[in-house]
Structure formats: structure tokens, C-alpha cells
């Protein structure tokens, strides 16, 4: 009975995915090198934000340390490649390392929540940043490390468009895996953790393991993004992995709509691409962006994807208010 509505929503989502994929594949025809680079960056930021959305949006654990995991993935690949290891071996190593460190970062979350957890994760990010910057023998410090583009099945990915396709594939695979996870009974329990941990515990959901895994899987996604980011920019230094990038990643999730599957896609687009479009506005860019974020949070804290629902709810409220006012006045139409 409810099947038709279900499939209608599915059809809409499918149509959206097809249109988005077509648009993304066609985009390089209309873009210069820099535009293709920006879209690659968007894809990887989205991957990292999808991870944070799982941690924050679905499991309800605030994290201000997501850029640190990006850094762990990027530096793992860069350091291993410098030592002569193939990118395709460095990649799983970086992702596993991010997963393991993410698991460890989950432990404070078992003890504290909200702003305490925010500061615990922020402190963690500061720590990782300092290690990257100061352990010059390993990371090159502020001088950074050069990273070459990898080869795929003997085909060099030096071309921007080829690497862009790789980034899109990484995004598609990550999104698919997270989607499958979230719609499994196992993944639904993440949302229970966010809605009400006591309620979840009363049902026998292993709140401890879920909290740890929410961090670990979120971190692993950032590890994937970081591993592909290093060859994208060809050179890494500590700056993209500090506190400010972490806040931008958080902003991507919040702006798009935490706990919504396509939220990170939209949020990453706005945070990554808007600065470029608003470049004409120069110094005013940050002012415009700041006002936009403040207005969004005040008007619709559920993020951009929640705006249609919010508008519909406001319309309905206005209609019913008008209806009751008319009823009281009696004769008014």
C-alpha cells in the first residue's frame, strides 16, 4: 500500500543521481583546468564530509577533528610513496590508520558529549597538526612532500580530467557503501544512538561499539579523501589539515543538512565552490558567506536540504492560522 510512495521517492532520488552524474561527467567539456581541479576537490571534500555526516549527522557525535584524518590519509600515502611504495598500497594503509586513530578518538566520546567532546576532538586535531608540522624528518614539516600522481592499470593519471574521473569514482563508491550501511538494520541503529542513547541502550544496542565505530568509519572516509587529495594537489604541507579546515568540513555537513544523505554533496559544493564564484566580491566574500551561514542557522538549522520542509511547514501554519482567524471573524472569506 505504501509501496507506490516508496518507489516514487526512489524514482526521484534515482533521477537526481542520474542527472547529477551526467552533469558531473559533462562538466569538463565546459571547464578549464582549474575548474576541473575544483570539482575534483569538491568530490574529495564530499567524501570526507560523508564520513563526518555519519559521525555527526547520523550518530550524533560532534567532531571538530575531521581534517586531522584527512591529514593522516594524505601523509600516509605521501610518506609511503616517498619511500617507494605504490599509491595503491599506501591507500589502504592510510585508510586503516585513519580508522584505527578514529576508533581511539571515539573513546573520549564514551565519557563526554557536546561541547566537551567538541573540545576533545579539537585538541586532537591540534595535536595531529603539530606532529605534522614539527616532525620534519617524517613529514617534511612546513616544506611539505611532493606527491606524484599514481598510475592505474598502467595508465598514468597525470591528466586533470583522468584524475577527476578517479575522484568521482571514489565518491561514488564511498557514497554507495555508506548508503548500503545506513539502510541496513545495523546502520539504522546509528540514528537511534543520535535520537536517544538511553532508548537505544534499553533495546540492547551496543552503544559503546556504535559510538566507537561512528568515529572510526567517519575517520576512514576522511582517510580515503586525504589519500586521494595528496596526488591531486601534487604537494602536501600541514595547512589543509589544521583547525580551520576541520571547521569548514563541519560547516559542509551543517549547511547541507546533518543526517541527510545528500547533505554533504550540497554542503561541500557551497563551501568549496562558492568562494570561487564569489571571488569577484573579493574581501566581501567572507562577509557574504558569514551572513549566509548566520541566516541559514537562524532560519533553518536543519540545513539547506531542510528548507523545503521548513517552507511547507510555515505555509501550512499560515494557512491554518488564517483559517482559524477566518473562523473567528465568521464572515471573512
Amino acid at each position: 500500500m505504501t509501496l507506490p510512495t516508496l518507489s516514487r521517492a526512489n524514482v526521484a532520488a534515482l533521477a537526481f543521481i542520474v542527472a547529477m552524474t551526467a552533469g558531473l561527467l559533462a562538466a569538463p567539456l565546459f571547464l578549464k583546468t582549474y575548474g576541473v581541479y575544483l570539482l575534483s576537490l569538491w568530490a574529495l571534500n564530499t567524501v570526507a564530509a560523508i564520513g563526518l555526516n555519519l559521525t555527526l549527522g547520523y550518530a550524533g557525535q560532534i567532531s571538530l577533528g575531521q581534517a586531522a584524518f584527512l591529514g593522516i590519509g594524505a601523509y600516509a600515502v605521501a610518506i609511503l610513496m616517498k619511500a617507494g611504495v605504490s599509491f595503491w598500497l599506501g591507500l589502504p594503509a592510510g585508510v586503516l590508520l585513519a580508522f584505527a586513530v578514529g576508533l581511539a578518538l571515539g573513546f573520549p566520546a564514551l565519557r563526554v558529549q557536546h561541547h566537551y567532546l567538541a573540545f576533545a576532538t579539537l585538541g586532537f586535531n591540534a595535536l595531529v597538526f603539530l606532529v605534522i608540522r614539527n616532525e620534519e624528518w617524517l613529514t617534511g614539516g612546513n616544506f611539505g612532500i611532493r606527491v606524484a600522481r599514481p598510475e592505474l592499470l598502467g595508465h598514468s593519471l597525470r591528466s586533470g580530467i583522468d584524475y577527476y574521473h578517479v575522484c568521482l569514482a571514489v565518491l561514488a563508491v564511498t557514497a554507495l557503501l555508506v548508503w548500503l550501511l545506513l539502510r541496513s538494520p545495523w546502520g539504522r541503529a546509528f540514528a537511534c544512538l543520535r535520537d536517544n542513547p538511553i532508548r537505544a541502550e534499553s533495546l540492547g544496542i551496543d552503544v559503546r561499539s556504535y559510538t566507537l565505530l561512528a568515529f572510526a568509519i567517519g575517520a576512514a572516509c576522511a582517510g580515503v579523501a586525504g589519500a586521494f587529495l595528496a596526488p591531486l594537489v601534487n604537494f602536501i604541507d600541514p595547512s589543509p589539515f589544521g583547525l580551520v579546515p576541520s571547521i569548514y568540513l563541519l560547516l559542509m555537513v551543517i549547511i547541507g543538512g546533518p543526517g541527510r544523505f545528500f547533505g554533504p554533496f550540497l554542503g561541500a559544493a557551497i563551501v568549496t565552490l562558492l568562494p570561487e564564484w564569489l571571488r569577484v566580491a573579493d574581501v566581501w566574500y567572507l562577509v557574504i558567506f558569514g551572513i549566509f551561514v548566520v541566516a541559514l542557522m537562524a532560519f533553518c538549522p536543519g540545513g539547506l536540504l531542510a528548507v523545503p520542509e521548513k517552507v511547507a511547514a510555515m505555509r501550512a501554519a499560515r494557512r491554518s492560522a488564517r483559517g482559524s482567524a477566518a473562523g473567528q471573524a465568521g464572515a471573512r472569506p
Partner: protein
């Protein structure tokens, strides 16, 4: 008669404050035992402590003779002790079916879970009709039935249920009570918390009145209901409001 649950000198509380202060009582197997007491007397705290959401500082808690004090909810669920907390306990954005499924988290066996779910939906036809709809679209009574149905998924031996009648129309309360009565007849031991003293004691076997973290009065439900001291225990008008 066998004791499903037995508390002896239990002390428990939150942080610095002590709410249960040497509480001792037993709930007999296959019976409905109802905990009553003023607002804030600690009724919910008793259930939370038995269910392991709160660790007892002292004393012992036994289920069918075995000590369970300090065990986590997961371990208790596996032993057949389930808890339906006060208020609304569904996940409103999930469907009825998915809410129900969450009750089987500790079952671990997909085929068994599916069989049990079918059995519960068989028992509650109204839930079966709405199985694919959002849980938040159910009426208050249907939501309570879903919560109880979800608890039954584990085929519990002992059911803890906190104020099942709250916010429900009298007719729906009667339905919920009839369901609980039926469960007790089929051998499930029930420890219930209620504010609605008259109606609740009318369908219970035994009653325990809490007073300052201890038992103020305890005995067969009819006897407790008839006791004049019960009025003194509910200066706030618990009984007056119920009658």
C-alpha cells in the same frame, strides 16, 4: 511461590543524591506487581536500577534467584528481562517495522528475528496494517502497543514497564491493561510503575508503595488499595486524583 525479581537493601541514586535507600521487595513470577508512589518518589529509578541503566551502590538484585545487580542492559535482555520506559520510546522517523526490528537487536539470528516479528505483527493486526508507515503516524495507544510488541519480540520472562497508561484515553488504557493481564496469565512476570493508582491496582496482583526510597506499604493489590494509610502516602492527591 517463586520470586521473579527480588531486591534486598538496594541503595541507588544519581551523582551525590541517594534516591533508593535500602529498598527491599519481591515480585512474584507470573504476577503483576505494581509500584506506586508520589511524583519523584523514585519509581522509575527502581526500574532503571533493576535494568542496569543505573548501578546499585549497595544491596542485591536477583532474578529467579540469580544475582543480576550491576549487569548491563544487553546482558539482562539476553536473560529475558525487558524494559519499556516511561513516555514515548519509539524512533519517530523509522517505520513501524523498523522500530519493531530494533527490539531484536540482541537476538543475533535473522531467521529467528523474522519469525518473531511475524508473530508479533500477527498479534497486533493494527500494527501489521501500518507496518511500512512511520511510527510517528500511529495513535498514542498504537505506539504503546508497538513498544510492548517490541518488548515481546524477545519472549521475555520478566517485563518492566513504566507508566504505560500515561497520556492514553481510558478505553485505550483498558486495552493495554488487558494485554498485560494476558501476558501475566501466559507466565510473564510484570513489574509495573503507575500513577493511576486505582485503575492500576484494580488489575494488579500485588502492590508496593514507595516512600522516601523504601517500601512504605506492600501486599496484595486489593489490600493496599483498601488501606487508609495509602491516602497519607499520597498527600499530593495521588489517590484522590485517581478516584
Amino acid at each position: 511461590m517463586a520470586e521473579a525479581l527480588a531486591l534486598a537493601d538496594v541503595v541507588a541514586g544519581y551523582g551525590q543524591s541517594t534516591i533508593l535507600n535500602g529498598l527491599s521487595f519481591a515480585a512474584e513470577a507470573g504476577r503483576i506487581t505494581t509500584l506506586i508512589g508520589a511524583n519523584g518518589a523514585g519509581k522509575s529509578t527502581v526500574l532503571k536500577t533493576v535494568f542496569g541503566l543505573l548501578r546499585p551502590r549497595q544491596g542485591s538484585i536477583r532474578m529467579h534467584g540469580e544475582p543480576i545487580g550491576g549487569l548491563e542492559p544487553r546482558a539482562l535482555l539476553a536473560r529475558g528481562l525487558v524494559f519499556v520506559p516511561q513516555g514515548r520510546n519509539l524512533f519517530p522517523t523509522l517505520t513501524v517495522r523498523h522500530n519493531l526490528e530494533l527490539g531484536g537487536t540482541t537476538l543475533g539470528d535473522r531467521a529467528l528475528l523474522r519469525r518473531r516479528m511475524d508473530a508479533v505483527l500477527e498479534r497486533f493486526p493494527r500494527l501489521r496494517e501500518r507496518a511500512e508507515g512511520q511510527a510517528s503516524a500511529l495513535s498514542g495507544g498504537e505506539q504503546k502497543m508497538l513498544e510492548i510488541g517490541r518488548a515481546l519480540l524477545l519472549e521475555p520472562k520478566v517485563l518492566l514497564i513504566d507508566e504505560p497508561s500515561i497520556g492514553l484515553a481510558p478505553k485505550v488504557v483498558a486495552e493495554v491493561y488487558a494485554l498485560l493481564r494476558g501476558l501475566a496469565e501466559s507466565g510473564v512476570s510484570i513489574l509495573m510503575v503507575e500513577q493511576n493508582v486505582r485503575a492500576a491496582l484494580g488489575m494488579s496482583d500485588a502492590a508496593v508503595a514507595l516512600e522516601q526510597g523504601r517500601v512504605g506499604l506492600m501486599g496484595p493489590a486489593a489490600q493496599v488499595l483498601a488501606d487508609t494509610r495509602i491516602k497519607a502516602l499520597f498527600l499530593g492527591g495521588g489517590l484522590a486524583a485517581a478516584g
